[in-house]
């Protein structure tokens, strides 16, 4: 007798699914290796070469089918895998191993494993990711050798596995994949990206999943069912009628929320009594722009530029940077301002060309604007690139500096900004007419100095993640301190209220670009405290928009007042939640 099991993983792609489980990969690790099927009299090396050739043919055919569906990037993976199946290095190694060990399938698996390890050892993220492709090719050749057929789901199902290789997901007919639940994998796994593009839920890193599923699977019983919520990262193995109904209800709610959100996108973001709130997106690369525009972000409140500086041997050139910034500025146009954040880098990241000294406490160390005191070139180059991008895109660029702690920091920022423009103009190069220049308020000293800083800059943007970490002196990366990391803590909210007061006195706007801005409860508190602009991941904007549309300014004022006097973050969250709960 078994019972329902509720497990948690990492949310990969949103959505709800309830259905039978299709268990991929169970036979490979669980059952003992069966003897390879050999044509009587066929030598092991001939068997391996024939199976490899057959595998290459299958992969070529798969590439063709996927290419016809317009999925060129996936098709290219299968092209490469087809070559791997025929690869002389792999096949010769397998033949040699078969001569020593006997079983051709074991030999192929060992050879593919060795080749995969070689790729995984390369100091190159993209190439080492191909290791999984080689293992997959090895598994395919083994299936051919053993005469095994890949059992694809016979009815629409939820795939359960340790990991799901692209060559398997591509074989599943459209509509037969209801969701993907993986014990391994990461949020960037191929299967998650696929799930997002298919609009089905995906959850990764579910510990205990395989054991729970396999314990319930018996050859005679019908397939085990499962319910999953890709937004919460929750799965239920073998759900009872009650749980299945609960997930069906969530599914209906989600459909309703999505329809509402789509309707709200067509109108400017505002409270129920019509007060406008500027809702913008956080982006990490120019490739994030389409997603932000699709959910009707009114601009970008935080364009992180670190992607330009990481994973490379030399510093990005001014031209390379200008092109990247220009792409984003042009995508959003003159009506939707884009705030470019100057590089937030320091001793916690290995950046070979900067030769940063290792530090005991990199988050309290020489990072971001602080680097510019000794070495201004990095920021000067970036600022010149932004001036040029503004001119090229014909918009007024917005920039902000992270880690500003003192008035001297602001003076350095302004002087570098002006120096950058002068050097361009001096060389006859085009530069934007002006640059809207703000600072991030994420260091406690900057919050205390808000009135003085506000008179010197064009806007504030509060980084609630770091502000919380610094105010509560709790390392963001330390899971043991999770209770200290809720930005709704009244101590943090009081700091935000002070920053807003300082900004109001000088007449400059205040944005929030931390995770708190994308949390519906957090958004209500922030707008209640007088924040003008919320910047969050594109996926959070619909939820924030819907929350704001349900409340009025007087309600938000009252909420903010009681939140400031609350004793802890949990109480604040309950207060905001009460405002969001459906009436009746």
């Amino acid at each position: 007798m078994t019972s329902t099991v509720r497990l948690m993983g990492v949310a990969g792609a949103p959505g709800i699914a309830v259905g039978p489980i299709w268990r991929f990969g169970a036979t490979e690790p669980v059952l003992p290796a069966t003897t390879s099927r050999q044509v009587p009299g066929q030598r092991p090396d001939d068997a391996i070469r024939a199976a490899a050739a057959e595998t290459a043919r299958q992969l070529d055919a798969l590439a063709g089918r996927i290419r016809d569906l317009g999925r060129e990037q996936e098709a290219a993976i299968f092209d490469a895998q087809s070559l791997m199946a025929l690869d002389p290095t792999l096949v010769d190694d397998a033949v040699q191993r078969a001569g020593e060990a006997g079983d051709p399938a074991d030999a192929v698996r060992a050879a593919a494993g060795a080749a995969a390890e070689l790729l995984a050892s390369l100091d190159d993220e993209i190439l080492s990711a191909r290791a999984a492709d080689v293992r997959d090719v090895g598994a395919r050749i083994c299936r051919v050798l053993r005469g095994e057929v890949l059992h694809l789901p016979a009815v629409p199902s939820i795939a359960v596995s340790d990991d799901l290789p692209p060559s398997v997901t591509a074989e599943i007919p459209p509509g037969f994949l209801l969701g993907i639940a993986l014990a391994g994998g990461s949020k960037t796994a191929h299967a998650v990206i696929l799930a997002r593009s298919l609009g089905i839920p995906a959850i990764v890193g579910i510990s205990g999943l395989i054991v729970a599923v396999d314990a319930r699977a018996t050859p005679s019983a019908p397939p085990v069912a499962m319910a999953m919520d890709g937004e919460r990262g929750e799965v239920i193995v073998d759900p009872g009628t009650l749980e299945a109904a609960e997930f069906r209800q969530r599914e209906a709610d989600l459909a309703l929320r999505r329809a509402d959100a789509a309707g709200l996108r067509e109108r400017p973001t505002a409270t129920a009594d019509g007060e406008r709130v500027l809702l913008v997106a956080n982006i990490g690369t120019p490739d994030d722009a389409p997603r932000a525009l699709a959910v009707r972000a009114e601009g970008v409140g935080l364009f992180r530029t670190e992607f330009l500086f990481m994973s490379r041997q030399t510093a990005p050139t001014e031209t390379e940077q200008a092109e990247a910034y220009c792409r984003v500025l042009e995508a959003f146009g003159p009506e939707r301002p884009v705030v470019i954040r100057l590089a937030d880098i320091g001793g916690d990241k290995a950046i070979p060309y900067l030769q940063l000294a290792p530090e005991q406490n990199p988050f309290l160390g020489v990072r971001a604007i602080r680097l510019a005191y000794a070495n201004p070139d990095l920021l000067l180059t970036q600022l010149r690139a932004i001036w040029r991008a503004g001119a090229a895109a014909n918009v007024v660029p917005h920039v902000m500096a992270p880690m500003v702690a003192t008035i001297a920091d602001v003076e350095l920022l302004m002087s570098l900004r002006d120096q950058a423009r002068e050097s361009l103009v001096g060389n006859g190069l085009p530069a934007a007419e002006r640059m809207v220049t703000g600072i991030m308020v994420e260091v406690p000293s900057a919050a205390f100095l808000a009135p003085e800083l506000a008179r010197r800059v064009d806007f504030f943007s509060i980084g609630t993640n770091d502000l919380t970490q610094y105010i509560l002196a709790a390392d963001r990366g330390n899971a043991a301190l999770a209770a200290f990391q809720d930005a709704l803590h009244p101590a943090v909210l009081r700091a935000i209220a002070g920053v807003v007061a300082g900004a109001d006195a000088a007449g400059i706007p205040v944005a929030v670009c931390g995770e708190l801005a994308g949390d519906p409860a957090g958004a209500l508190i922030l707008v209640g405290l007088g924040v003008d602009e919320l910047s969050a991941d594109a996926g959070s904007l619909d939820g924030v928009r819907a929350a704001l549309a349900r409340v009025t300014r007087p309600q938000l004022d009252a909420l903010a007042r009681s939140a400031l006097d609350a004793s802890d973050a949990e109480t604040v969250r309950e207060m905001a939640g009460a405002l969001l709960a459906p009436a009746g």
């Binding site: 490469a80 791997m84 002389p88 290095t89 080749a115 070689l118 190159d124 190439l127 492709d133 390379e320």
Partner: protein, 94 residues
């Protein structure tokens, strides 16, 4: 034997897609073709093996040395050089 040196300009180096194109082209020649990552000092790799080519770890900015040895060596080097220069099916940055 013919040889040629060329710089990798593909943004992500010789990853799966450009490597696949290169290997397919190399496999059309009878000559023995090798590719060696001069920048890292790796040993010459069989250009007809996608695993060996990807395993050479040729990243953007690295220099690779091509060699061909056999009856069609001259043509092999010419074709593979042009393929590299044209970006192996990818758009190169200016």
């Amino acid at each position: 034997m013919r040889a040629d040196e060329i710089e990798v300009r593909n943004p992500s180096g010789l990853h799966a897609r450009p490597a696949a194109l290169f290997v397919k082209a190399a496999a059309r020649f009878v000559s023995k073709v090798t590719v060696q990552n001069v920048t890292t000092g790796a040993a010459p790799a069989d250009a007809k093996s996608i695993l060996a080519v990807m395993g050479s770890g040729a990243a953007k900015g690295h220099t690779v040395r091509l060699t061909a040895d056999g009856p069609d060596e001259e043509q092999a080097i010419a074709v593979l050089h042009d393929l590299f220069a044209s970006g192996l099916g990818e758009e190169l940055e200016a």
